[in-house]
Symmetry: C2
Amino acid sequence: MNYFSSDFKLGILGGGQLGKMLLFDTRKFDIQTYVLDPSNEAPCKIACDKFFKGDLMDFETVYNFGKQVDVLTFEIELVNLAALVKLEEEGLKVYPSPKTLKLIQNKGVQKDFYTEHNIPTASYGRFNNLKSLIVDILDSKTRMPFVWKCTEFGYDGNGVKVIREMADLDELPNVECIAEEMIPFKNELAVIVCRNPSGEIRTYPVVEMEFHPEANQVEYVICPARIDNIVADKARAIALSVSEKFNHVGLLAVEMFQTEDDEIIVNEVAPRPHNSGHYSIEGSYTSQFENHLRAILDLPLGNTDSKVAGIMVNLVGEEGYSGNVVYENIEKILGWNGVTPHIYGKKQTRPFRKMGHVTIVNSDIKEARRIAEDVKNTIRVIA
Amino acid sequence: MNYFSSDFKLGILGGGQLGKMLLFDTRKFDIQTYVLDPSNEAPCKIACDKFFKGDLMDFETVYNFGKQVDVLTFEIELVNLAALVKLEEEGLKVYPSPKTLKLIQNKGVQKDFYTEHNIPTASYGRFNNLKSLIVDILDSKTRMPFVWKCTEFGYDGNGVKVIREMADLDELPNVECIAEEMIPFKNELAVIVCRNPSGEIRTYPVVEMEFHPEANQVEYVICPARIDNIVADKARAIALSVSEKFNHVGLLAVEMFQTEDDEIIVNEVAPRPHNSGHYSIEGSYTSQFENHLRAILDLPLGNTDSKVAGIMVNLVGEEGYSGNVVYENIEKILGWNGVTPHIYGKKQTRPFRKMGHVTIVNSDIKEARRIAEDVKNTIRVIA
């Protein structure tokens, strides 16, 4: 197949920032792209070859879009699965496969998959609705504290809550959910795995999420993780095996916990480019986006090693500000060594909205960490 | 000035591959761009915010385009200078300034500038037309061999010829020209200088053009140049002084010769991102394109150091092939360590047409050079 400056068309479901960053690489290789997104202001609208406005959860819309392209991928999991299944049955290359997506979209199904395949994960119970969960608690089968997760449509922290007492249940939606054992952990880690249809497979180095000591919020994604090599090797091996067991094609971001006794357990996965791999644009020989593209087109995978250490800081809308966005002090951080802001292109900010990220690269990880802290304390997303 | 996700508009004259690579960075920063180019198939057409089809040499077209933007730059020197002068007089920020462009557009004027400012360069004569040059030769004032260069509208080797005997003059166009002393040199070098309106200035490392031993054609651009540090420092110092004397804003690529006795003389300059800096996308902390953007917007300049060694190989149309382009063996080279092809997006190939380039990066420059040779011998641009 000739992908380069040809009539070949790659379809992308979703036109957000992940798609936007993927388009840097389709442009670099001059591969034609069609993008479907519900918003006319999608960050992908510019830089794709053809933009389609439409509902990603609507069968007809997704099916008709898929009929126009040669390979179909997605940058968000919340897409109409039945349409993908039909398109794949009709011979379209859909990567990642809807078979994998089906195992991942529902967190209960995902957890069952880990159990069936002996992938280490926290123990859990599955519940069809809030009532059955409450009954289970009252029967003393599910014990507090635990982590409540809705099984579908959760995104970026939405749909996850720590339940310590009955009152914490008061505001939960009455939906299908899981209750997960709370496991004390030293570190939250992630490994991005890349695999193509021919079975070539590579992992990126282990990254570490550094949390704010009080706010319990990820502040920095750090590559490489500042952990023991033995633990890192274990994390990469588990991530590899997760990707293989899913028979996954494309990127799979595997989020894990390093427990207090240095065991690795899988938290959850995302079948696409991931926030924990954004550092790779500046830090790695091949960015996660380029490797996703290579993988779904069954091209050889690129080197996943790092050129230099990389740290990523998210840019989210400051509390108390809504309206036309202003990146306060961005000029200042641009003057610092190895600092690259990525502005996703959302015109309007609101509290906690993901507006961009900043990558800090340096040959010395300690220096990168010092600059990252300065970046975090300097730039503000206001209106 | 708020550039990021705002109403600010950057105008770019020219929509070729240099503009296309610049747009990666305007997209990354979400800066709005308007592009003017004569071709509806310009590589920039996708990924700019608004595309205008029009003649870059036409006063009205360039002037009217300029009136719609807040800062104006160009990716090709062959633009209507008078329009730029008028726009600048009327208060538009035009970077690089038409004052500088005027000194560079005509190679005779450019040479006079070097002479006036004591910048080392090969000695030369200026001629209004071929006839005056021939008279000068017959008078034994200009002696063969020399390098003939037309003063305007030459591009990429067009408009340059070595004259060894009278017969070599036969096919020259009857245009304004210079005759330059032929200086035997060890190396052809280049330094890219970056300067913003506030006067902040940085140089990229010295790069080396490695020529094919027989064909006298540049085969590899290598960063860093494999030369003595003292010579490299001299080259960077001369390039800095050239940029300062031009009072240049934006990127200035300074091409130089290292003579057999290790003197550095300036060959010519280009006031824009340059082929000799393409390695910087993968090799440098800040690519030449991002630094051009930072410079013309008077933002702080980014680190020009390299993360790893970089080598660039041009992809030009193979002799004997015209038509719909095919990049033969591109899948093969994608499998090698640190190899990134850039496909400019021209659908049609023809002999010697610039279709793309390949960057090879590696922490070991010798390994990069070995892979670069394999790349050169493997990929073919055919139809």
